[in-house]
Subunit: 476 residues, 2 copies
């Protein structure tokens, strides 16, 4: 994407909508907004706007459509595919929702919460807790990611097994269209078959079809019982068999089932403060099992004990521990959630966010490791993730002592190897992180032409001026 830098006069017209106090213009102020977490993309932008209301967002997009000015929406800037980063030519403005962070309503009887797009996920958790309810979306970045971004990327995380992705946690939306028109679809209904599903079209569109300014989110009862267990196993196959047992035993009380390799435990115990291996001896693989029950604490206790007994009896579990306090539960989850960060001190890391039908996880793991090691001897595969969803964060740390830049330069090559195996298995090259800039061209390559064409037709229909986060998801 190349565009023309907006004139100073035009920048002032945009700034006037929100007031000079609510813009960033200097290179220093803008710097942290122009780089994403992994450092893969560095953008340029002359102006970041912080509207305080849906009406201000509307005015910005109206002016943008009239003047052909590209707008990049940004919330917590925690995305992992460059979807929130402007292009490098300095033609795109950033619209940050950070001031639109009000919880507009909480209704514990109807079990809904209405949050603005700039609400931090952790603040939504707190608002739900305050009325004795729970909002289940749970991510490593929940202290900084924001609801608008969670929706725009259809965020997943660790509780998808029981509660679904962000798509499943949202009843209604308020969206400002690229033209500046406001769509009020803030409905609170479980069932509503009235025409095309616009809501699900905006969810996961990564800000390319409009800006989500508010959403009706589903709340749930706080569980009466909660148990977390950690088990050492010999293989992903053993983990899959244990998952099947857990699924049958617990049904939707099974709220998490994570797979981790030994090297992930090594990395976290080595680099993350306070993390220690809770089991006496090392095991090749591990699962973190999370069980939440609605009726009583006793049910969760019985379930976790029964599951571990079944796992030992079937020869699936080598060793296991049940967290005996909330602090221990948090420590186990902290180990899992810091597994990505723990790779940083080990040098470069080439990452994949893939899913395969869950029955194919063991064969995928075996094939991918073989292929990666053949291409790059000494590479250290640290593949972990949400086994119950078929979603593996297939991360590869550089060989010990290798040159980081040379390693990272092989990102696309290694992607092609891993994604090839994923696609053979009928899998997805982006299970939960989205497409952004990182996977746009690859998506167009692997999907049928008609699918990309339908996306383009939708993009044109919603954003005729082409100003809405251009260059992301689908090229136009």
């Amino acid at each position: 994407m190349t565009g023309t830098a907006p004139s100073p006069e035009l920048l002032d017209r945009f700034a006037a909508i929100v007031g000079e106090a609510n813009v960033l213009r200097s290179a220093q102020d803008l710097a942290p907004r122009l780089i994403e977490n992994r450092g893969l993309y560095h953008g340029k932008s002359p102006l970041l706007l912080k509207p305080a209301s849906t009406e201000e967002v509307s005015a910005i997009l109206k002016l943008a459509s009239e003047t052909g000015t590209a707008i990049v929406p940004q919330t917590g800037n925690t995305g992992l595919v460059g979807g929130q980063t402007p292009s490098e030519d300095g033609s795109q403005l950033i619209l940050s929702l950070e001031r639109m962070n009000r919880i507009r309503d909480v209704d514990p009887v109807a079990n809904v919460l209405v949050a603005e797009g700039g609400c931090i996920l952790a603040d939504v958790h707190k608002a739900a807790d305050a009325v004795g309810r729970m909002f289940p979306l749970s991510l490593g970045s929940e202290g900084s990611c924001r609801i608008g971004g969670n929706l725009s990327t259809n965020a997943g995380g660790t509780a998808v097994l029981a509660y679904g992705n962000m798509r499943n946690l949202c009843l209604g939306l308020e969206v400002v269209l690229p033209t500046g028109e406001i769509w009020n679809g803030l409905r609170r209904l479980k069932k509503d078959n009235t025409g095309y599903d616009l809501r699900d079209l905006f969810i996961g569109a990564e800000g390319t079809l409009g800006i989500i300014t508010a959403a009706v989110l589903k709340l749930f009862p706080q569980p009466a019982g909660h148990q977390v267990a950690f088990a050492g196993l010999a293989s992903p196959d053993a983990a899959l068999k244990l998952f099947e047992k857990a699924s049958n035993l617990c049904g939707t009380a099974l709220t998490g089932f994570e797979l981790m390799p030994r090297i992930g435990i090594d990395f976290t115990t080595r680099h993350i403060q306070g993390v220690r291996d809770p089991l006496e001896n090392p095991h090749a693989w591990y699962t973190l099992i999370d069980i939440s029950t609605n009726d009583s604490a006793a049910t969760a206790e019985t379930m976790v004990q029964t599951l571990l007994e079944q796992g030992f009896e079937a020869g699936l579990i080598e060793d296991a521990v049940i967290a005996s306090s909330v602090a221990q539960q948090k420590a186990l989850w902290h180990m899992r959630e810091s597994m990505s960060d723990a790779q940083k001190p080990e040098g470069g890391s080439i990452k994949h966010d893939v899913s395969v039908p869950i029955s194919k996880i063991p064969s995928f793991m075996a094939e991918a490791e073989k292929a990666v090691l053949a291409a790059m001897p000494g590479a250290r595969v640290c593949a972990f993730g949400h086994l119950g969803d078929g979603n593996i964060h297939y991360n590869i740390s550089q060989p010990v002592g290798a040159d980081k830049a040379e390693f990272i330069a092989r990102w696309r090559e290694i992607n092609a190897i891993v994604h090839g195996i994923v696609l053979e298995a009928g899998g997805s090259i982006s299970a939960e992180h989205g497409i952004g800039q990182l996977k746009r061209d690859e998506l167009a390559h692997i999907r049928p032409e008609i699918e990309i064409d339908l996306m383009r037709r939708i993009k044109h229909a919603f954003d005729p001026a082409g100003i809405m986060n251009p260059g992301k998801v689908v090229s136009v």
Copy 2:
């Protein structure tokens, strides 16, 4: 919608695609396909086509787009809003998926089943049962409705509480676009964030954006325990309070929570063979409670007993019975599912398929009844439905002895009264049946202009020739 009747030559070109043995042309053969269940719409058509494959569907739609011939897709012809009925001018052809009724694959390990659009829902149930799994969509019409229609209307039914609508039960689709292009989106993944959510756009589009020729459906474990209870109560408010208790106690093991009025029990016991009132004395309201557990039969037993105890203790339940055999369970569900049919012998019935936030059900019931009786003294409100989803089939039988035609002539007037109260409560005028012809203009009236406009833009983008079930959902 008015169009030109296709020439005999053009009809022959369409017929040649499927072969003369697989078309209906005579008025007699076509008659049952031109009228829908409620008799509100009578269409005309010169030709019904029965393609046997996705490729034949594609050839039909390609020819239709080229020649500007309107095509109305039809599956089980059980829809309740005229979505499957052609217009009255005889210009539209019917495409029936009845020969595309193969189950393409069943995979009990991955818990998926791939069905063609013409599969009868009950046959999908059987195919799942045969491998020890369950497909949860459950409707009164399941012996004749077909998967393509279930998807195109985002069907709901009695198990939505635990398993969701059809939208939630589908992982992937194969769709023939109005242009004849085939989109193969038959993915089997739980998590797949790769661009716009085309799947959910086709689901619920009522055949106006393309024809769903196959789908990947989710299977579930067969429950280990199943209990059905029937309770008499004083009011919808008592039922709502009991629902809250049930929801907290059972979580997602609560697989059904239906509300019924006394008059519904009167109608079914009077008109439906084999139905009898299982309780000794009459009550103003009733709930049917369905509980399914995955771990053991004992859990369901404990749950249903505990729930009834809690309900009696709280003074919410006046009397109750637990079905003691599968036959009794079926009998209770049969009463509920025949409640719509039982109204037919009572004369005309004006129907509504509405939802409101569930906390507002009691006030909605009270207000709506007051308003209906004020407008039409003697009318008999038989409002029943899926309380746990906020979805009420607000049906009104004519006053005893009134003229049926005169009563039915007031359909729109009474709709306006009931829908007005629904909309005040933030509800939906079509919770699960869809829009079709019946509610198209009303939808355009009650929704913001931008919402209808976005639907039109999508329609144009997908169906530039305007041949795909025209006149349904949104006017173009």
